[in-house]
């Protein structure tokens, strides 16, 4: 493989439980291979000047970049097939500043939208007075729920959230009214002139009260007709329970030699994407609307918008604008419905773009969790049972809480073989900010619980924590707590061994120091005194794709034709590119399957069927699968054409290097000569193998498509006098089945690990009495380049026979295990229990 990776040396010292059929490779933080220079011209688009919907498509052909990657892959007649690391097709636009993100959308006569949000976490609305707002010069519209033509409700799984509040607000930041004006400041001032008379109510903010205390009369029922996701009241479903999922396996009375208990908490993490919620809604001549939007799933947005606007799908057309990161925060609607309502009302294009403060109120967050765990093991370390109660605070609206509960509960024991399991997962309504999808999605919270327990158990047994994990590691063929039998590689022990065997950083020097290498950095808080080093290891498990019987498909159209004397493949899907590189992988698949060099990615829009969600680490699997299947159909037709024209059986022919090739006789014809004027186009709707619902009483069922694993080792230095932490090194080993684009895979692992580091030591939305205390990047801290240590990444490729190319979802696993590994390292350095993340200085001193 001709990539800048350093191949890992053969490892003869590995003890393998099962033969490793894939190959591993690793990349160090430095010492990358040389990057061949290129003097080739780079594709540019017209920049600056007028911009509008006609110009906003981010379609990028590989002109220019073709040459650059050819230089990189000079051993190959093709550049950028599956398994190689071609450059991003949108990369040049992104480094020149010309890539059109959703907040860059612009039309000459557009208006600006703004939102009035509730200052109270729970209140009745007595009245709303728009008089002064409407009078303000420059204001074109001020709308409330009365102006919603369709149903005033939306939601991913249950439509329980008002587009604009009716007579009650259930969280601080809930949208009450919207304004369109000719300048964003005018819109903001108009919002301030709207007078709302609230009757403030006592908010329900304790998720445990919501879960268990809600039969008391003084606990409000937050959704009068709600509890759509829960069971009947009194049978695991109360008046504020969104979902209760019990998992029961084996003997509930099992006893063990050694028992450890623990209670753990996870704070509310924010996705903190950098590109704010934004987009441009343009009213169309047919009475419909065109929306240019940053989202994770165009078609689920469209479905909800159709209901709100009272329009058929043909009149609500969405095009993906450039997406400035997502991480789950763009799964729910934010400004989509508001912008469309304002555009349709005023007859003018309306742009909305949230400020960072508004963004903290404009999307759901990671569920905070309270977890109680009990692990029982024999003296030899073998787990006998795991009991757990996991309470996830879903906040005011359901969002994706039911699915988050399912992940936390079904993956609640971690990647270990346990015969006796009793887990209860709860997702509840409160008046806290709504929570939903964030990278890792329920698996993150559980992993902090079960991995903390494994370390506690190792301590109680006097056993090495890695050895304890390896002794209990799940493997292919075991039965999960749901009864699902794992039917592809599960190299848990191998990943642990690999990450444990990586070289450690040098010990800190006692006699000389560099402030930049110490906790506290150039704040000059220590010269090394009071600094203790610790090392911790953790591993996590994640389900890939949508679960529990969801019809999880993607649609791809592939067209092969001759353009300008060259054979060109065009790939069209509605699958959202959010930065992860799906567009790169789609082009790689087309090149691999069709043997062409030039691939064009069509703008991502709703003119084609759904691509499903860019979440659950599923897009390369499902949309990749759809693109592959469409390419195979196109290839079949082209080879049939070639067979007719060349007088050879189609089975003896293949496509390679823009040519039709026979294994026996070599090049038979140029692809352009076979195609002539023919345009070969196929559209495929592709599904992964079906999953099944979980039994609501026992949690048994084949609910998941695929499991993915990553392990981390963290090295930290802690100033135990001040409670300051510096993560010195963070290493990862992950199985990805097949590295479709090795550079992008490593990029996902780096980025996911960084978000796990953030949760471990700094990131939390502080909520007091239902109110957010830190809605800014001044007060909500995400890791900077100073906080993120060097990483060694070791990637295993053990093919999953059920998945396209054998691939395994990549995006989420690294976010799961990095947090518990770092906390384990801090425990090792400090001797403290540390039962809550993020770990703060006062937890240490």
């Amino acid at each position: 493989m001709n990539t800048p990776m350093t191949p890992s040396p053969a490892r003869s010292d590995q003890r393998l439980d099962a033969p490793i059929t894939g190959r591993g490779w690793s990349v160090r933080d430095s010492g990358r291979g040389s990057h061949p220079d290129t003097s080739q011209p780079i594709a540019r688009t017209a920049g600056g000047g007028s911009r509008g919907p006609d110009d906003v498509d981010n379609t990028v052909t590989r002109t220019g970049l073709v040459k650059a990657t050819s230089t990189r892959m000079d051993q190959s007649s093709h550049s950028g097939k599956v398994g190689e690391s071609p450059l991003r097709p949108d990369g040049t636009l992104k480094v020149t500043g010309e890539f059109a993100y959703s907040s860059d959308m612009w039309l000459a006569d557009m208006l600006w939208g703004a939102t009035l949000r509730s200052p109270h976490p729970y209140a009745c609305i007595r009245s709303v007075d728009l008089t002064e707002a409407v009078k303000l010069p420059g204001v074109y519209a001020v709308l409330t729920h009365e102006d919603v033509p369709g149903e005033n409700l939306y939601g991913l799984e249950h439509a329980d959230q008002p587009v604009l509040a009716v007579d009650v607000v259930r969280y601080q930041g809930e949208a009450v009214a919207i304004v369109a004006a000719d300048h964003p400041e005018t819109a903001r001032r108009a919002v301030e002139k709207i007078v709302v008379d609230y009757e403030v109510l006592e908010p329900l903010v304790d998720p445990e009260v919501a879960a268990f205390g809600d039969m008391a009369d003084d606990v409000p029922r937050l959704h009068p007709d709600g509890n759509k996701g829960g069971g009947p009241e009194g049978q695991g479903g109360g008046k504020n329970i969104v979902r209760h999922l019990p998992i029961r396996k084996g003997n509930p009375e099992a006893t063990a030699d050694v028992v450890v208990h623990g209670e753990y908490e996870v704070g509310m993490q924010d996705q903190a994407f950098l590109g704010p919620e934004s987009g441009l809604a343009v009213p169309a001549e047919d009475g419909g609307v065109d929306l240019y939007i940053a989202t994770q799933w165009l078609h689920v947005d469209q479905k909800q918008l159709c209901r709100v606007l009272g329009m058929p799908a043909a009149k609500v057309r969405l095009t993906l604008a450039g997406v400035g990161g997502a991480f789950g925060a763009r799964e729910d609607l934010s400004m989509q419905a508001h912008a469309c309502l304002l555009a349709l009302h005023t007859g003018k294009p309306v742009k909305m773009s949230y400020s960072r403060e508004e963004s903290f109120f404009g999307h759901v967050h990671r569920h905070p969790a309270k977890m109680r765990y009990e692990h029982g093991a024999n003296r030899d370390g073998k787990l006998v049972y795991v009991k757990a109660q996991i309470i996830l605070d879903g906040g005011a609206y359901a969002s994706s809480t039911p699915a988050v509960v399912a992940n936390a509960a079904t993956l609640g024991v971690g990647p270990y073989k346990v015969n006796n399991v009793a887990i209860d997962g709860y997702g509840v309504y409160t008046n806290n900010p709504p929570c939903g999808a964030m990278r890792g999605f329920g698996a993150v919270q559980a992993a902090f619980g079960y991995e903390s327990q494994m370390d506690k158990l190792a301590d109680a047994l006097g056993m090495d924590p890695v050895e304890l994990r390896i002794r209990n590691a799940m493997a292919e063929g075991i039965s999960m707590p749901t009864g699902q039998v794992v039917d592809s590689a599960a190299p848990v022990a191998e990943l642990l061994r690999r990450v444990a065997a990586m070289p450690l950083p040098p010990e800190p020097q006692q006699d000389s120091y560099d402030l930049r290498q110490l906790p506290g950095g150039v704040s000059n808080t220590t010269h090394g005194e009071g600094v203790r080093r610790g090392v911790g290891i953790a591993i996590g498990i994640k389900n890939v794709c949508f679960s529990e019987g969801f019809d999880d498909y993607s649609t791809a159209k592939v067209r092969l034709e001759v353009i300008g004397g060259e054979s060109v493949a065009m790939v069209h899907t509605a699958a959202a590119e959010v930065g992860q590189g799906l567009v790169t992988v789609q082009a790689q698949i087309a090149r691999t399957e069709l043997g062409v060099e030039r691939v064009t990615i069509h703008p991502i829009d709703t003119q084609i069927g759904s691509g499903g969600s860019t979440s659950a680490s599923r897009q390369t699997y499902v949309t990749g699968g759809a693109v592959k299947a469409a390419c195979e159909k196109v290839r079949g037709r082209v080879l049939k054409l070639a067979a007719e024209r060349l007088g050879r059986p189609a089975a003896a022919l293949r496509l390679d290097g823009d040519k039709v090739v026979s294994d026996a006789d070599g090049v038979m014809a140029a692809l352009v000569d076979v195609l002539h004027e023919d345009v070969v186009e196929e559209t495929v709707k592709w599904r992964h193998r079906p999953t099944h619902p979980l039994d609501p009483e026992t949690g048994q069922g084949n609910a998941h498509v695929q499991y993915a694993f990553a392990a981390h080792r963290a090295v930290v230095d802690v100033d135990v006098d001040l409670g300051l932490i510096r993560v010195v090194q963070l290493d990862c080993a992950q199985d990805v089945g097949k590295a479709m684009n090795p550079d992008a895979v490593v990029g996902q692992i780096h980025g996911g690990s960084a978000q796990g580091l953030g949760l471990a030591v700094m990131e939390e939305i502080q909520v007091t009495d239902g109110k957010v205390r830190n809605p800014s990047f001044t007060d909500y801290l995400i890791p900077t380049i100073l906080d993120m240590p060097p990483m060694t990444v070791d990637v295993l490729e053990l093919a999953d026979p059920h998945a396209p190319y054998g691939l395994r979802g990549v995006g989420e696993p690294p976010t799961i295990s990095s947090t518990p590994a770092i906390v384990a390292a801090i425990r090792a350095a400090t001797g403290k229990d540390l039962t809550r993340v993020p770990v703060q200085p006062h937890h240490i001193i």
């Binding site: 990161g325 690990s753 900077t784």
Partner: protein, 158 residues
């Protein structure tokens, strides 16, 4: 008010600028230069970093009126006619771009760093880029990109 300034070598004259408007808003919404990004608009993330008379600043913290008669260079002004700037090319090749929203600010900050320090050490790079938030990459490939750009510049100079 009317503001006159030079951006990427071109003279701009913009009318009806409201006193509270930032340079970032003026660039993005009035001059057709949306490359500088609006990630936080409070000086925390560095996504809107531009040169103001050769000094990198957060354009969101500069009032548009302060740009009067000043010389501004944005991400759109880094590349030559035919070719990317070595810093841009390095970010592209090193995989330092995912969603890319932080990239314009990081490119200007890196450009500035390499003007001051031809071969920065890792700690120097980290310190210089500490004001630029990235949520996608974990910064590893950004570090790679800076070092790659530095070595390319050194090669070109010899």
């Amino acid at each position: 008010m009317r503001v006159k300034c030079t951006v990427n070598g071109e003279k701009h004259e913009i009318d009806d600028v409201w006193e509270g408007e930032s340079l970032l808003y003026a660039l993005r919404e009035r001059m057709g230069l949306p490359g500088s990004k609006n990630a936080c608009e409070q000086g925390e993330c560095g996504s809107c970093t531009v040169y103001l008379d050769q000094t990198p600043v957060c354009a969101c913290l500069v009032a548009a009126g302060q740009a009067q008669d000043r010389d501004i260079v944005t991400v759109e002004g880094l590349a030559g006619e035919e070719k990317l700037h070595p810093v841009q090319q390095a970010f592209l090749e090193a995989g330092a771009v995912q969603c890319g929203f932080c990239t314009p600010g990081l490119l200007v900050a890196t450009h500035d760093l390499l003007e001051r320090e031809e071969q920065p050490s890792d700690p120097e790079i980290r310190e210089a880029l500490a004001g630029n938030l990235c949520r996608c990459t974990g910064y590893e490939k950004i570090l790679d990109a800076v070092k790659l750009a530095a070595s390319r510049k050194a090669e070109a100079a010899t």
